[in-house]
Each structure stands twice: as structure tokens, then as C-alpha cells.
Amino acid sequence: MDIARDFAAATQDLGAGARLAPLWWRVGLEQTVARYRRTLLGPFWLASSTLATAFSLAIVFGSIFGASLAQSFPFIMAGVVAWSVTGGMLGESANTFMLGAGIMQVQKLPLSFHAFLQVNRMMINFLHQVVAFWAVMALLRMFPLPHWQLILSLPLAAATALLFSIPVGMLATRYRDINYMIGFISQALFMLTPVFWRKGQMSPKLHWIADLNPFAHLLEIVRQPLLGHPAALTDWLASLGFFVVAGVVAVLSLTLYRRRVVFWL
């Protein structure tokens, strides 16, 4: 009886969060502006850091794997950009509710609002990174026309990030250790996910590392269209599966703990 009511409240929370789109859209923009206030490049600082990471990785790993920079750079840069909306979100999601701690104490907002806000900030940053990616590619005369699948894969990646940031954010708010743990887990995942290497370059015995990693599939459905190719069907199916699992866990954790989060802050 109580569970049924809490379950209904959990789904209503997600709906109410979505309906607050005008609010998290404005707040996300304002927070992005505020974060880079008094800087010259603004959010393009983040894009520059992506660019620098991609360049360094392309130089080192390109030469290790014997690939030319022209081959490895677009692949790695698109990978790093795609990572920011997939696995990179794992690190961010620990802060979902802690960043909103102040406002949660004084204003009634659905819990999912904070997750929507988080994903909105992520997408704003992603947009800057994609623009930087296209600008660099155009400069190198390698501009890849994006594949139409991007229109589907970006919303799927955003929705998945939204859903898993709810349980992860809750855990990190309740147990402060998780925050640090997520930090190194997401770093380890970056290495273990084929962001700057290809599955084929690995010994077949270790292919499971990429096959069983949901972020690897989610990454591919964003990266391949960015490079102008369609993503593989297995990547799509695995990503959809990840989305469904994240959704179930999100609704479950909202059902059980939605009311308590404010006391954990």
C-alpha cells in the first residue's frame, strides 16, 4: 500500500522534473555563465582541455599502435567528446544532489529536477566540445558529416545519464566515501573503455572488457555517428538495455529513498 503510493510518487517526481524544463534550462545556462564569469574563453576552456587530451592521446597511442595522426586523431577526439556524455557523467553524477544542497533546503522541487539540471549542464558543455571538434576537423580538412543516428543516440545517452545519476547521486549523498570512489572508478573506466584504443587491438582473451562494459556501447553509438558512420546494432541494443536497467534502478531508488535525500545532505 505504502510502496504503491511511493512508487506513484517516484514516477510523478520524474514527470514533474521533466515539466520544469524551462527552469532547468535557464538555471543550467546561468550556472554555466556564472562558472566561467571573468574568463575569456568561457566553456571553451573545457573544450580546449578535451582537445589537449585528445591530441596527447593521439600522439602517444597513435605511434604505439602504428597509426598515423590523421587516422587516430579524429577517432580519439570523437571518443573523448563522446565520453563526456557517457562514462564521464558517472564522475559528475556523484554531485547531483550535493550541488543542489542549498536550494533543496529551501525550495520544493522534484528530486529529479537536480538530475535534469545536471544533464542540461552536461549537454551545454558537450555542445561546446562538439563545436570545437568540428572546428578542428574543418581546419585539418577532415570534417566528417555527422550520421543521422546522432539525433537518436544523443537523447538516449542524455536520458541514460539522467537515470543513473539519480541512484549514484543518492548513494554519494548518503555515504560520503562514494564520491571519492566514483572519482577513481570513472578514471579507471576511461582507461578500460575503448575511448582511445580499439577492441581489435586487444588480445581476443580480453575482448570481454569492452563487450561487457555498458559505457563502451553507449560511447560507440555517440562516437560513430559523430565520425559519420552508423553504429553497430549490438551497440544500440546494449545501450537500450543499459537505459532500461538504469531506469528500473532509478525508479526503485526514488521509490525507496526519495523523501530521505534532503536529510542526508
Partner: protein, 246 residues
């Protein structure tokens, strides 16, 4: 829609977590030993912040919450604002709520006063055009003058209070919930603030204010609730309360 608040047997319990209870190591240790090791240690304290509180407020009511520190005033305000959901009982709030429970939250100290007005109004979901239309009025009420273009961090506590008060009371909320910080600001601004509170009531709104300032409550409120240990020990008109206490 008629604006009203009604509480029926509202109870609020919440757990306060110590530093130890927020550590994963202790949680794992607890699991490993079947929860026996940590049991009895008071790492997680359950507090009954509100105990079976019932009352009804109608349009035009201005409720003053009085009571000692820790008597449940702020918990009450947070339940009314919808920040905390009661553990037991029912609460029904009809009307748009604006809460001023803390004056520093939602403020960007590097941004100008004017940008902070925009941000505060944004959080109340006021459309952009409406904000710009009301800006001059809010600025003039705050009496901040040219300071409105200065970064918020350069403001004194009184100036900060004036800015937040000006925004919160300009936004036409149906129900206004305020903690006692309103008493910040100089005597002159206090008078202006009291006058605005009175005009808010004329517009048939509900105001709930928690304060230790008895003269403020006598001046502004028509109803008083005395809280003690999470319970309402008195709820009635201000006249009755004055008669009982003097």
C-alpha cells in the same frame, strides 16, 4: 482557487547522521557483523521534529511562529514550504508558495545585485519579461541605488537582507514563508518591510513567519502558534496570546 493551508496531525521524524554514519566503512562493518557492533551507538539519531501538529490558515492570515531554539519552528516552515514531507499526518497547501527560509541560498556572490535579483526571480519561475518589467520597482524598494551594479560580495548583511526581502515580497506569491532573518536591516528599512508585509496581507495572501521578535509578531500577525518540543502548545489569535502571556 481559494488560498489555504491545512495541517492534520502532521508528524515529522528525521534521522541525523553523524560523520561516522556517513562513512561506508562503518556501513560495511555493520553488515558484516549483522548490525550488532554499531547498534546502540548513537550515530544515527532519530529526531521527532514535529509531533501531531494540526491547524488551518485561510486567506489574509498572518501566522507568527514563536518558540525557543530547536522547538520546531524551522522544521514547520520547511514542511509548509514542501521541502520536508511529513512522516505522518496530512498537509494540504493551495496556492503558490514563496519561501525565504535562508537569505544566502541561491545567491551568486560574484554576480551583481541586479543579476542576483534575476536569479532569485528565475528560481521562482517568473518569466524573463516579467522580471525585467518589475526590476525598477524591486531595485527602488531595496534602496540599494548604485550598489545594485556592484558584486553581491561587497554588500553588508543588511544590504543582502534588503535585496532578498525586496525580491521575495515583489513576486506575488500566494503564500509567503519567512524565517526570522527578516529582522536584519536598519530601523528605517524595518518599518518599510513591516508596511509591505501589511500590504501583502491586504492582497489576501497567507504569511507564515518565525521570529523571536515579539513586537514584530504583534505588529504583523493576526494568529500565533507557540511551539515547544515539536508540538503546538498554543494556536489562536494574537490578542488571545497577548492576554495569556501578560
Amino acid at each position: 482557487m481559494t488560498i489555504s493551508i491545512s495541517l492534520n496531525g502532521v508528524t515529522l521524524d528525521y534521522a541525523i547522521y553523524s560523520v561516522r554514519a556517513q562513512s561506508l566503512r562503518n556501513a560495511v562493518l555493520n553488515m558484516a557483523v549483522g548490525g550488532k557492533l554499531m547498534k546502540g551507538s548513537n550515530d544515527v539519531t532519530v529526531v521527532r521534529a514535529l509531533n501531531n501538529v494540526s491547524f488551518t490558515l485561510r486567506e489574509g492570515d498572518r501566522l507568527g511562529l514563536v518558540g525557543h531554539n530547536g522547538s520546531g519552528k524551522t522544521s514547520m516552515l520547511k514542511v509548509l514550504a514542501g521541502v520536508y514531507e511529513p512522516t505522518g499526518g496530512r498537509i494540504r497547501v493551495d496556492g503558490r508558495v514563496s519561501s525565504m527560509i535562508s537569505m544566502s541560498i541561491g545567491l551568486d556572490h560574484d554576480a551583481s545585485g541586479i543579476q542576483n535579483i534575476r536569479n532569485l526571480a528565475m528560481m521562482q519561475q517568473i518569466p524573463k519579461k516579467e522580471i525585467e518589467r518589475r526590476l525598477p520597482e524591486i531595485i527602488s524598494f531595496s534602496e540599494l541605488g548604485a550598489y545594485i551594479h556592484m558584486p553581491f560580495k561587497t554588500y553588508s548583511a543588511g544590504m543582502m537582507a534588503r535585496l532578498t526581502f525586496s525580491v521575495a515580497t515583489a513576486l506575488n506569491a500566494d503564500i509567503l514563508i519567512m524565517d526570522e532573518w527578516i529582522s536584519a536591516g536598519d530601523a528605517e528599512f524595518q518599518q518599510k518591510a513591516a508596511a509591505r508585509m501589511a500590504s501583502l496581507v491586504d492582497e489576501a495572501k497567507i504569511v507564515v513567519i518565525a521570529s523571536h521578535d515579539m513586537s514584530l509578531i504583534k505588529r504583523v500577525c493576526n494568529k500565533v502558534m507557540v511551539m515547544e518540543g515539536g508540538q503546538a502548545t498554543f494556536f489562536g489569535s494574537t490578542e488571545e496570546w497577548i492576554r495569556l502571556t501578560t
